[in-house]
Symmetry: D2
Subunit: 388 residues, 4 copies
């Protein structure tokens, strides 16, 4: 492979501990890969050229660990990260694996579960802070229902808000400096999950006590499970100043959560995503929340990890090529030109209103404007396929 696609720290490629350590268990089959110790996962990430590692509390510290075990484990992990030159940009908490959370965590009907979930999150924040993380992701994997008979859905919203407000205060009180990135998902493992799309979180955030501390962590697979255009969701988040983190992987629409290698399901939609992130200058981590096929051994896991980063860099190069393509740029210029004289776009004013209402538009002229989008898309396909 060409060196020009080798990952560098400046690319900010990170992987979840849980991704490279994924053992291939699924609803219809047992584990196929032996356990991978967190320090060995860090070593592997260093080998493949990653920049960072992210983790849930229990990816690293067993849920039953004593405080002393917890301290030792975190310390050793930190040392391993340091010695391999791997940073920990993001931490999160598992509020979904243990049977205690089988009806949710922050939104569970049992008040004791809600309190426990909050306590567990605060302790996960401690771990993350100790490891240097400044981004805290919250994915409410069990915050949902199989039957809406169990709870009023607006109560779930209120409970969720309460929890987020609380963790923001805790971060302030402790001086952790966290931003929180909320991760949406429409379903699985619950029949329906509250806050189904990134948009739902963008709607919740302004209702929080500290909206400035909270943004989103859109995930390719989660949006595409619902058949939605992921780049559109990312763009709205970016435009609102809320793109605090991103989870890259791939997914065929309308299916179980596949978490495929980045670009593996649909390289064209991956291209538009990379192009957007690079065009706007997104400066955060490029986190791969994916895992290797269950057919792989750990050599295959490395192939998988390398493939994620390499495909990103290939697509980044193609985005630059697209931007530099004269024919493409000529079309882009043409399609943005007005078809006929028109009042300048401006915010409302009585004067502008008068001009606008007084203007005569010719619908035939508007409809005749040349918009060669087929040609533009075909050129895009050819940049993607490398024949241009």
């Amino acid at each position: 492979m060409s060196d020009k696609y080798a990952p560098l720290p400046e690319h900010k490629f990170s992987f979840g501990l849980w991704t490279v350590s994924n053992r291939g268990r699924d609803p219809f089959g047992s584990e196929v890969r032996p356990p991978l110790a967190p320090v060995d996962a860090v070593k592997m990430l260093a080998q493949v050229g990653a920049w960072g590692v992210n983790l849930h509390d229990n990816d690293l510290v067993p849920i039953d660990a004593t405080p002393a075990e917890r301290d030792r484990i975190v310390k050793e992990f930190k040392q391993a990260c340091d010695s391999h030159g791997i940073v920990v940009p993001m931490a999160t908490v598992t509020l979904f694996f243990d049977p205690a959370f089988r009806d949710g965590a922050f939104t569970a009907n049992d008040p004791a579960v809600r309190a426990y979930a909050l306590q567990k999150t605060l302790r996960a924040m401690d771990i993350g802070a100790e490891l240097g993380a400044k981004i805290f992701v919250l994915w409410g994997g069990r915050e949902g229902t199989e039957t809406d008979a169990c709870r009023r859905a607006d109560d779930a919203v209120k409970r969720l808000r309460h929890a987020i407000d609380y963790v923001c205060e805790y971060s302030i009180a402790k001086g952790y400096g966290y931003t929180f990135a909320m991760e949406a998902k429409p379903n699985e493992p619950r029949g329906d999950i509250y806050m189904a799309t990134t948009g739902n979180y963008l709607g919740l955030i302004p209702t929080l006590a500290h909206p400035e501390m909270v943004g989103v962590n859109p995930e390719v697979a989660h949006e595409q499970m619902a058949g939605l255009n992921f780049t559109h969701a990312v763009a709205q988040a970016w435009e609102a100043g809320k793109l605090f983190h991103i989870d890259l992987n791939d997914q065929v629409p309308g299916r179980y959560d596949q978490d495929f290698r980045f670009g593996a399901a649909n390289p064209k939609s991956a291209f538009f995503l990379v192009k957007f992130l690079e065009d706007v200058g997104y400066a955060g981590p490029r986190h791969f929340d994916a895992h290797a096929y269950r057919t792989e051994n750990y050599d295959g896991v490395k192939d998988f990890a390398r493939g994620c980063m390499r495909t990103y860099l290939i697509l980044k190069e193609k985005a630059a090529r697209w931007n530099a393509d004269a024919e493409i740029q000529a079309i882009v210029k043409e399609i943005h030109e007005p078809s006929m004289p028109t009042p300048a776009e401006a915010t409302y004013s009585p004067a502008h209103l008068a001009t606008l209402l007084g203007h005569t538009f010719d619908r035939g002229t508007l409809a005749a404007k040349n918009l060669p989008y087929e040609r533009l898309d075909q050129l895009t396909v050819e940049v993607l396929l490398g024949t241009r």
Copy 2:
């Protein structure tokens, strides 16, 4: 049929002019029903017992009408409404039918199209105001793409915001007293539509100049096209004070926009929706944005319209029955009780934090909490099926 399900004005059932006047054209077939004049549609709605009628500008006034024609048409329509006791609670604008809008309206690349879309919307607001409408719906049916090469998606967001801000100012300036209800849709007729879900609009609204004037108009079919739980979206909007209008119909997930009779595709999800709206006391119109099968004549259109309202009222009665069912309520009570002593839920304070962090939770106890949701859902099914 029993009289107890007869529609009354207090139920606030409304239909779009375009719904009962739908002539059955689709991508693979021509019209099957003759044109229905707006005044005849109003008459039909009165016959079936509806309370209100909604309209796009061009449902009533042809796009090429002269000002004099426009005035005459609106006046006659108002008289027809008055004589039939039908109100016009909501108006909207078609920014999708004419070829001028083939690349969108507020987000089109052509600045002249954007200006024309704005002008057309202002004039539609005039019509609505004249007819007494206080809710103005905006559905951006063509605001989207088939290829993301054509425009940066964040530019679309900015353009959309500009337009919404403008129309808010216009409503203020004219004293129309409108609230605006934004209607999301994931795709069709565009490959992807911006603001794919109700959540996306909830996220956009707080970034507007007049967020207090703008809410959402969730539509069953549009959310279910993406396989999302509609009641969850409605609940979030309601909880945020943003449920300004609602479009009732039905839809099988993952398909073309079907706009079926309310409750026809899935009566169980329709039940949870009606139950939510009635439980929270939603006081706005129950608008049916649906149309009769293409196999129907206008008698069938009446059957369709009657069916929408009747099913709503049957489900409303079932919701009351559910709330009154002792066994169901006992389960609802039980599932909300704490499994073990737990710190009271409260906003963050140092004292509460200390209590929370000092509390010991027993995960086994949390996991053992009785949550008879299968039983609860089965009882719900039996209320729905009328065997309880």
Copy 3:
């Protein structure tokens, strides 16, 4: 609850051992229920009123059992079934759980895996035969791909045919008297599974060496995952004489495999299914391949099992009511009458051809035929909701 919906042996309700023994593990969480021994599952099924139990080889006999252990286990299980009056109508084989099958079984690339899969299936047939099963289901859960680079898809078809032909010969040679029921699924746990729909198997069967021995086992969830109309698939299978078994459960389209309680996701589509099965006189087992929510304990598992059967019987009663409803039947009669005189329907003959080609049809008359399907569907909804 009323006794009239109590399950009886004549209803032929069966459950898989794996369904009531399901422990609630999913991709994001560990087991929530303790193990349930096969004999205890049989006892539970007797308690709730089921007629039969089905099993995979390894639901009963551990994959590593010695021949002596196997014999003892099967014998004890048979005794438990007998003492509880539970029959074993169907058996199957797990070719998906063990890591050996991570790339499939009959279609795996490794010839040794294919041979082992065959051997394992023959031994599972021995177990089933010993327990009295006459139906053998084959679900190729791992027969698929994440990348089509790994194998030519037509090779997979050939390999699958080879295996089915082999097991048919084995059944003949041993005198087991099995019929084989092939179960399709579009995806999960593989990215894509070969033989994605029931239709694909209906297409494969005629190419087998013993097509008369092989039919299908359609599953509600598997067809609805792809958004398909399950009743249509069942009807085609029935009409072809190939409905050898059926898996009842429920599923929202376009999602992970939910395996909900029968009728829980969409009672209307469940109604049409039950109505079809009862109308045509399907005489085979009504097998529930579903499992309780992960929020349940074993009392909830019983609620779940009872709910499956009870909903079936309620819908069966409603189907009879639909058939007896005079208004409904009048519409059914009307919609099947010719709109105008027309040549009698007949197989091709020169004489019929001459008549047909000589006939003049009036398209306007054809298009004016009254088809009150909205009314018919609304009446159906009201039968379903119990208001009629």
Copy 4:
């Protein structure tokens, strides 16, 4: 553009008359392009380098044409084809556009509609035969339901069989030499369409009177609407000797019927399809059943048509490159080798059975087999992206 991707007659690229003549009407908008006369469409196809044109009867001959008009139109069209060097490989019939077919054609409840549909099909076969077509496609666009209350689904199967048997006899009687290619679709314009997938037709064909005359016409979009792997469906059809025709276009899963330019939605799945067709030596037409975006004028339609063919040829070249790549082929070889000694694969015989049952398999060895599918897929992606 490079000449090496120029379409040639040997590539057998065909377009439907209805594809390049598509005027951009959709459910939410009127036509955007002026009518294109059939002879002008042929001229355009010649300009862009196509080999063939396909047509529905009414694409060419208006439904109300007199016999004399019909004869003149067909004759002139044949002359236009001849003079432009365009062949007519396939013909079909529209049984979905006219209101007469609003409840289906061959499966309609009205016997007069069924008879008219048959008559119309026979006359469409006459047109096709006169133009030299040897493939006749049948797509039952209206053969379906919005409510299953209207008809028993097995009756629909019987009616469909009757019609297919009849048209086969007609072809024999007239000596037309047709093969029939059945085209499946899951839904749209009907709520559900019978024979939802290619598999369903593969299942129906063996039950016909002349199965040897009938195969399938799989369409990318129709299978992908249901989220199914199109190449798998094509492979099964091919393996059964039933791939009589193919409709190429593109489609995002779980949406309305998009009919995008070939390769536009997902170039990777298009790659696997092209690779399959070329690897097996499919010799039939490569028919593009797609249309240009509604944003285009007729220059854009040409861009669209050129893009379909060009992308096919680029992917064909990449398929050859994949086959010639040494690293890829080494992996392909490795993954097909047995992990351990195993009985040779053979049809059933008592001797083989004895060998198979006597063999000891080591599950650990089977599970340890190296299957570097991540690497293989990444190499595939890089061939696709042109970096290899």
